[in-house]
């Protein structure tokens, strides 16, 4: 059964495109046939994150206007079998596409692919409406910040109004050190406020910048902690249960070790709680 998932957030710059690229790569590495669609018409970026910007001939608007076949516009990623990009038009505006167009396009794509991932533009206007039109479910990306969570809440409401069942949450740019000292909202705070199931936590890590510089998503890199976080989210997307969350703790500092030795601090209690090997609250629902 094939599925179309929209990756959305409301707020810009929280990691929708990075998440779409990495989940596309991770699902393809699992042997799935995946298409990632850049729905940000006029401001395309998914091609750059994937390192496929030099291979664009046709785009989404060409397909919708019948200037080329879908197959001609799809760019095959040569690094992994089964990953294709449908780029956005750069010189058109979002009004070139309607929700009906997207619904038809997604329907056509679902016949060929196991997963169609749509990278939604920021905002709640036409581009958002286009992006959710053909989707079966939504993944909301947020960061542990007031502004991003506020926008995520708005988007969750709009998804529910559009009858997109059970949106799920990725918490991106998580910084364990700040959480530990009480300067960043933790997982429980965010889930309490947004009240939707969690599908993954992605640590804030320099890998994201380095991989974006190179057009080589972290999910390709076996050693990357960000890559690992996305690979685990991909497994949860396919319905795997019991996928533990990645340890978002940073390595123990010298001072932490000294304090522990002196008997002042427990042994990395946070790390245990983050990665207990048990599916956490949200995950049970993800799995079902």
């Amino acid at each position: 059964m094939s599925e179309c998932i929209v990756i959305t957030s409301g707020k810009g710059g929280v990691g929708k495109t990075t998440s779409t690229a990495n989940l596309g790569v991770a699902l393809a590495l699992m042997g799935k046939k995946v298409a990632v669609v850049d729905a940000d018409i006029g401001l395309r970026n998914l091609d750059v994150i994937l390192g496929l910007e030099n291979r664009i001939v046709y785009d989404l608007v060409h397909v919708i206007e019948g200037e080329c076949k879908l197959r001609q516009a799809l760019i095959k990623d040569k690094r992994v079998d089964g990953l294709y990009l449908l780029p956005a038009a750069q010189t058109r505006d979002k009004n070139a596409v309607s929700p009906e167009n997207m619904r038809d396009l997604v329907k056509q794509m679902k016949e060929e692919f196991d997963y169609v991932l749509i990278d939604c533009p920021a905002g709640i206007e036409q581009g958002f409406k286009n992006s959710i039109a053909g989707a079966d479910r939504a993944i909301i990306v947020t960061t542990p910040e007031v502004s991003a969570i506020r926008d995520a809440d708005r988007i969750i409401g709009l998804c529910e109004a559009a009858e997109l069942p059970e949106p799920m949450l990725i918490v991106n740019r998580f910084r364990a050190k700040l959480v530990k000292r009480g300067d960043m909202l933790n997982k429980e705070d965010i889930l309490e406020i947004l009240a939707i199931p969690l599908i993954g936590m992605v640590p804030d890590h320099e890998d994201v910048i380095i991989t974006a510089n190179r057009g080589y998503p972290a999910a390709f890199d076996e050693k990357s902690v960000v890559g690992e976080a996305y690979r685990r989210i991909a497994r949860r997307i396919t319905g795997e249960t019991d996928v533990p969350f990645v340890a978002t703790e940073e390595p123990e500092t010298m001072w932490g070790a000294v304090k522990r030795w002196m008997g002042f601090a427990p042994v990395q209690a946070g790390a245990k709680a983050q990665d207990g090997g048990k599916p956490q609250d949200g995950l049970k629902e993800v799995a079902s």
Binding site: E145, R150, V179, R181, G182, D189, K259, M262
Partner: protein, 93 residues
């Protein structure tokens, strides 16, 4: 002593996430009901004025706010009353 050393090695424990959380909770309720903080203040003042016609209120112990519950937004209030003004209550009732 250990706290001082903690401060030195780990950095400031400002606990700003609690501010973030309480601000968010208020923000989301207001987003949902589309009521601005000044409208909220006006509503609070009017409600308290009505209560004050019947009872003497302890002004420092007034809590009136919108809260998100499972089934929508609730107006939650806790108003400390010094004494009920029986004469006025009889007229009003």
């Amino acid at each position: 002593m250990i706290n001082l050393l903690d401060r030195f090695f780990v950095g400031r424990h400002t606990g700003s996430k609690d501010d973030a959380k309480s601000r968010l909770k208020i923000l989301l309720v207001h987003d949902q009901v589309d009521l601005t903080p000044s409208q909220m203040d006006a509503m609070r003042a009017e409600i308290l004025a009505v209560i004050a016609r019947y009872a003497e209120i302890e002004p420092t112990k007034v809590d009136l706010r919108l809260e998100r519950g499972d089934d929508g937004v609730n107006l939650v209030s806790s108003v400390a009353v010094r004494r009920v003004n029986a004469r006025l209550a009889a007229v009003g009732g």
